[in-house]
C-alpha cells in the first residue's frame, strides 16, 4: 500500500516506547525531595525488617539494675526507667509502627477502593447508599470513636488501627468514585463494552489505571496520619504498654523528661522523620505524575541574545517603512517561537508575510499545526505568555504593533486597537460566552467601556446589532443566557459583539468549524453581508477551501509554520503552484468519483480491483 511511506515519515517523530511506571520512579529519584524521602523510608523499613538482627535485646527485656543509663557500648542509646534498651525498643518499635500504619492504610484502601469503583462505575442504588454511609462516617468524631473502641476492645494497637482505617476509608471512596465517574463514559470504555469485555475486566484494565496514581499518593499521606494518630493515642497513655512502639516510647520518655530528656528525643525523631518522609514522598509522586516538564521562564537576556533583538529603553513607535502605511495590516517576515527547557526556541511560525487592505478578505488556510492560528493571535496580541516573537514585524494602520526589534507583542500598544479597531470571532461560540451572564450583559459591557456610551444607549445598540445579525427575536435573545441559545445563534451573537465597536479589522478563527453545514452557510452569508456593508478588512483562518471560495478575495496557504503560497483566490484554487496546495486541493471530495482512492488516485484503482478478486 502506498500510504505506508506517507506514514513512515510521520512515525519517526515519536520517541521510543517506555513503560510509564519505570519512568515515574526515575522522575521521583531525580527529584531531591523524593530521593531524601525514599532514602529515609528505605532506612526505616530496613530497620523494621532486620530488627531481630540489629537489636541486641528483646524490646521488653528489663535490666532493673541499670535504669535511665546513658549510652554505652552495651546499650547504644542508653536504657529507660525500667532498664530496657532504648535502641532495641526503637528498632522493634519501627516494625510495629510501620505495620500498624500499613494495616490502617490497607483497611482504608480495602473498603474505600472497591466501594468507590462500584459506586462510580454503576452509579444507581449502591452509589446512593454508599454515599449515605460515607457521610455518616465522615461526620463521626474520630478521636471519640477510637476511645470508644479502646474501651470496648481493650488497648490493642491493631484494633485501633483497623477502626481508624475504617474512619479513613471515605477519603478513598470519594477519590475513587470521582476518578471513575470521569472516565466511565470515555470512548475507550465503550469500545471495550462493544468488544464484550466483562465489567470486571473493564474496571481492572481501563478504569483502575486512572485511580492508581491518586491512591498511591493518598496512601503515603494516610500512613503518615496513621502513625501520628497512633503515637498520639499512645502518648496519652491509651496504648498497649506491653508492645514496643514509638508512641509508647514517647509516653515513657515524657514521664522522665526531667531525668533523661534524650528518651523523648529518639522516638520523636523517628516519628518526625518518618511522617515527613511519607508526606514528601506523596508530593514527589504527584510531581512525577504531572507530566508537563517544567520550563524555567527564559531569562529575557538569553532569549533576546539568541535572537539578537534587544530593545533597550525604547518608548517611541518607530515609523513604518515608507509606502506601506496604506495597508490596514501588514505582517512582514513574522516568526513566533516558544522557548524550550533546553534553551532552544521551537519555532511555530517562520518568515510569514502578508497584508490586508480595508474592505478585503484574506483567507489563511492550513492544517492543524500549520501555525495559522498562531499568526492570527500574534496580530491580536493573544499569544500565550511563553510565546516570543522571534522575527519580523506587524503593523496596523501605519503603526507598529510589533516593531522589527520587539520580542513580544506590546500589550499597551495593542490595547488602543483591540476591541475598538480590531475584533475577533472565535471558533467555539459556546465556550466564548460566559454562562453566568446574559447575552445582553456581555454585549453591553464592552460597548459602555470602549465607546463610552450610556447603558441604555448601549442596550439600544445591542438590540439593533442582534437584529442586524439575523436574530429573529432580539429582545428575547438579549435577555437569554448562553445555554438557552443554539450554537449557530451563539456564533451570531459573537459576530454582533465583534462588529459592535465598529472595527476596521475582524479576525475570524475557524468561525464556522464547530457549526452544522446548513448553519455554516447562514453564518458565512452573514459575515459576507456585514463585511460588504461595513467595508471592514477580514482575516479568515480556516482549513476549508469551500469557506475560502465563499468569502475570500485573497488566500495564503500555510504549512508547518511557513507560508507556501499566497495570491488571488481564483489563482490559487484553480491553478495552485505549490505541491502542498495541490495535495490539499486534491484531498477535497467535491467532484471526485465516489468509491475511488483519493491519495493514490487512478494509479492503484486497477491494482486494487485485482487484489479484491484475489482476496474474495
Amino acid at each position: 500500500m502506498s500510504e505506508i511511506e506517507v506514514l513512515a515519515d510521520q512515525s519517526d517523530v515519536g520517541q521510543k516506547g517506555t513503560v510509564v511506571r519505570s519512568h515515574v520512579i526515575k522522575k521521583i529519584l531525580k527529584n531531591p525531595m523524593g530521593l531524601i524521602a525514599v532514602g529515609i523510608l528505605t532506612l526505616v523499613v530496613l530497620l523494621a525488617i532486620l530488627a531481630n538482627v540489629l537489636a541486641p535485646f528483646d524490646p521488653n527485656f528489663a535490666n532493673i539494675g541499670k535504669t535511665l543509663a546513658n549510652p554505652d557500648s552495651t546499650n547504644l542509646l542508653g536504657t529507660d526507667s525500667v532498664g530496657r534498651d532504648v535502641w532495641s525498643r526503637l528498632v522493634f518499635g519501627a516494625r510495629t509502627t510501620l505495620l500498624s500504619a500499613l494495616l490502617c492504610a490497607a483497611v482504608a484502601v480495602g473498603i474505600g477502593l472497591p466501594a468507590g469503583l462500584i459506586a462510580g462505575y454503576y452509579a444507581g442504588k449502591f452509589d446512593g447508599v454508599a454515599n449515605w454511609v460515607v457521610n455518616i462516617l465522615m461526620a463521626l468524631p474520630g478521636i471519640i470513636v477510637l476511645l470508644t473502641v479502646r474501651a470496648a476492645f481493650g488497648p490493642s494497637v491493631w484494633i485501633s488501627m483497623v477502626a481508624f482505617g475504617i474512619l479513613l476509608s471515605p477519603g478513598y471512596f470519594r477519590l475513587t468514585r470521582t476518578a471513575v465517574q470521569s472516565v466511565r463514559n470515555e470512548l475507550y470504555v465503550d469500545a471495550a463494552r462493544v468488544a464484550g469485555l466483562s465489567d470486571a475486566s473493564i474496571i481492572a484494565r481501563h478504569i483502575f489505571s486512572v485511580v492508581r496514581a491518586p491512591i498511591i499518593i493518598q496512601t503515603a499521606i494516610v500512613c503518615g496520619v496513621a502513625i501520628s494518630i497512633q503515637s498520639g493515642l499512645e502518648f496519652l497513655g491509651l496504648g498497649d504498654p506491653t508492645v514496643a512502639t514509638w508512641g509508647v516510647m514517647l509516653s515513657e520518655g515524657f514521664k522522665n523528661v526531667y531525668l533523661n530528656p534524650t528518651l523523648l528525643l529518639w522516638p520523636a525523631l523517628a516519628i518526625g522523620l518518618t511522617i515527613g518522609a511519607l508526606v514528601l514522598l506523596g508530593n514527589a509522586v504527584r510531581d512525577a505524575l504531572e507530566d508537563a516538564e517544567k520550563i524555567k521562564p527564559a531569562k529575557r537576556g538569553s532569549v533576546a541574545a539568541l535572537n539578537s533583538r534587544t530593545a533597550p529603553g525604547r518608548t517611541q513607535n518607530e515609523a513604518v517603512a515608507a509606502g506601506t502605511e496604506h495597508h490596514l495590516v501588514k505582517v512582514s517576515h513574522l516568526g513566533v517561537g516558544y522557548p524550550q527547557a533546553d534553551g532552544s526556541v521551537k519555532k511555530v511560525v517562520d518568515d510569514v508575510s502578508f497584508h490586508v487592505d480595508r474592505g478585503e478578505v484574506l483567507g489563511i488556510v492550513g492544517e492543524s499545526g500549520s501555525g495559522k492560528s498562531q499568526t492570527a493571535f500574534s496580530i491580536l496580541g493573544l499569544l500565550p505568555e511563553a510565546a516570543r516573537i522571534v522575527g519580523g514585524s506587524i503593523q496596523f494602520d501605519g503603526k507598529y504593533t510589533v516593531a522589527p526589534t520587539d520580542d513580544s507583542v506590546s500589550q499597551s500598544r495593542l490595547s488602543e486597537f483591540r476591541g475598538k479597531r480590531i475584533s475577533y470571532i472565535p471558533q467555539e461560540p459556546m465556550s466564548n460566552l460566559d454562562p453566568a451572564f446574559t447575552i445582553g450583559h456581555q454585549l453591553v459591557t464592552p460597548m459602555v467601556r470602549v465607546l463610552k456610551i450610556s447603558k441604555s444607549e448601549a442596550k439600544k445598540r445591542a438590540l439593533k446589532l442582534l437584529d442586524d445579525v439575523g436574530i429573529r427575536f432580539p429582545e428575547k435573545t438579549f435577555n437569554a443566557y448562553p445555554h438557552e441559545v443554539s450554537g449557530g445563534m451563539a456564533q451570531r451573537v459573537l459576530i454582533a459583539g465583534a462588529i459592535s465597536c465598529e472595527p476596521d479589522l475582524i479576525i475570524a478563527d475557524e468561525p464556522t468549524t464547530a457549526l452544522d453545514v446548513t448553519v455554516q452557510a447562514d453564518v458565512l452569508d452573514l459575515i459576507r453581508d456585514l463585511q460588504k456593508s461595513l467595508n471592514v478588512g477580514v482575516i479568515l483562518v480556516t482549513h476549508n477551501f469551500g469557506v475560502v471560495a465563499d468569502l475570500c478575495d485573497r488566500v495564503a496557504v500555510m504549512q508547518d509554520g511557513r507560508m507556501v503560497e499566497e495570491g488571488d483566490v481564483r489563482e490559487i484554487l484553480r491553478n495552485p503552484q505549490d505541491p502542498y496546495t495541490q495535495k490539499l486541493l486534491g484531498s477535497m471530495l467535491e467532484g471526485k468519483e465516489p468509491m475511488t482512492m483519493l491519495v493514490s488516485a487512478g494509479a492503484s484503482a486497477g491494482g486494487a480491483d485485482n487484489e479484491k478478486e484475489a482476496g474474495l
Binding site: 475507550y188 465503550d190 466483562s198 489505571s209 492544517e367 469551500g546 490539499l584 465516489p594 493514490s600
Partner: protein, 300 residues
Amino acid sequence: MTRTQGKRSAVEPQGENILTVDNLDVEYPLKGFRRKPFRALTDINIHIKPGETLGLVGESGSGKTTLGRAILGLAPISKGTVVFEGNDITQADRKQRRSLGRDLQVVFQDPYTSLNPSLEIGDILAEPLGVQGQSPEAARKRVRELLDQVGLPSDAINRLPREFSGGQRQRIAIARALALSPKLIVCDEPVSALDLSTQAVVLDLFLQIQKDTGVSYLFVSHDLDVVRHISHRVAVMYHGEIVEQGTAEQITRDPQHPYTQRLLLASPVPDPDRQAKRRDERHALLEVQRLEEASTLPVS
C-alpha cells in the same frame, strides 16, 4: 424502500441483509419524578447487506450517533428490533455481546479519547482477541498483521497512544475494529476530527479494507461529501427520524426532502464562481421552502 444498487460500486453487495433495524425507538430516561423520557430516535428502519456501506448523514443532535450506539447496545432501545445475521440482538446481554463482538465492531469519532492513554498499542489491539479466547502468541501475531494492514510500523506495538498523530490513532482504532475480522463496522464520524489530507488517506483505507475483506459499514457523518464518497446507499436523519433513504447517487443528485436539499446546497465548493452560483441556488431554494412552509402553515 429503494433497493436499487447504482453502477458506482466496485463490489456489488448482494445476499441477505446482514443488519436489519425495524421500527426502532430510543428513549433516554430523564432525572426527576415521572418526567417523560427524552426520545432520541423515532421509527428507524434501515438495512445493510454484506459488503455494503450505508451512509448516515444529519446535523448535530439529529440522532445519527445514537442510532449507531443503539445497534452496538450502548443506547436504551424502547421499541422495535435490531436483527444482526438473523439473530435478534435488540436486548442482547453481555454474554451475547461478547460473541457478537466478533462480527460487529466500532470506530469512534475522537481518536484522542477512544484509545486508553495508559495502554500500549499492542495491548489495545490484543484486547478484543483476548476476549475471544485467543492465546497471547496468536494475538501478538494477529496484531502485527493488523498494524501492517492499516499501514503502521510494527514497532508501534510497544508505544503509547500519545506518541501518535490523530490520523495514526484513527488507524489504530480501525485496526482494533478489524482485529476479529468483523462483518459490520459502525463508523461514528471517523474522519471528522482529521485534517483534510489525513481524511483522504483514512477514507482510502476504509475503501481498501472493504475491497479486501468484504466488510459492511454503517458510516455516520455530518459531511455529505464524505458520505457520498464512501457509501452505496445513504440515509438522511433529521430530528431523530430518517427523512430520506436511497442510493448515494439519488440522494446527492436529486434529493426529495427539503432538509436534504438544503444540506446539499449548504456545503461550499472550492471555487469562487461555482460557489457564488451554488449560493444563489441555495438562497432561491430557501425562498421557495419558506413560501411552501407559509402556505402549509394555516392548514395544520
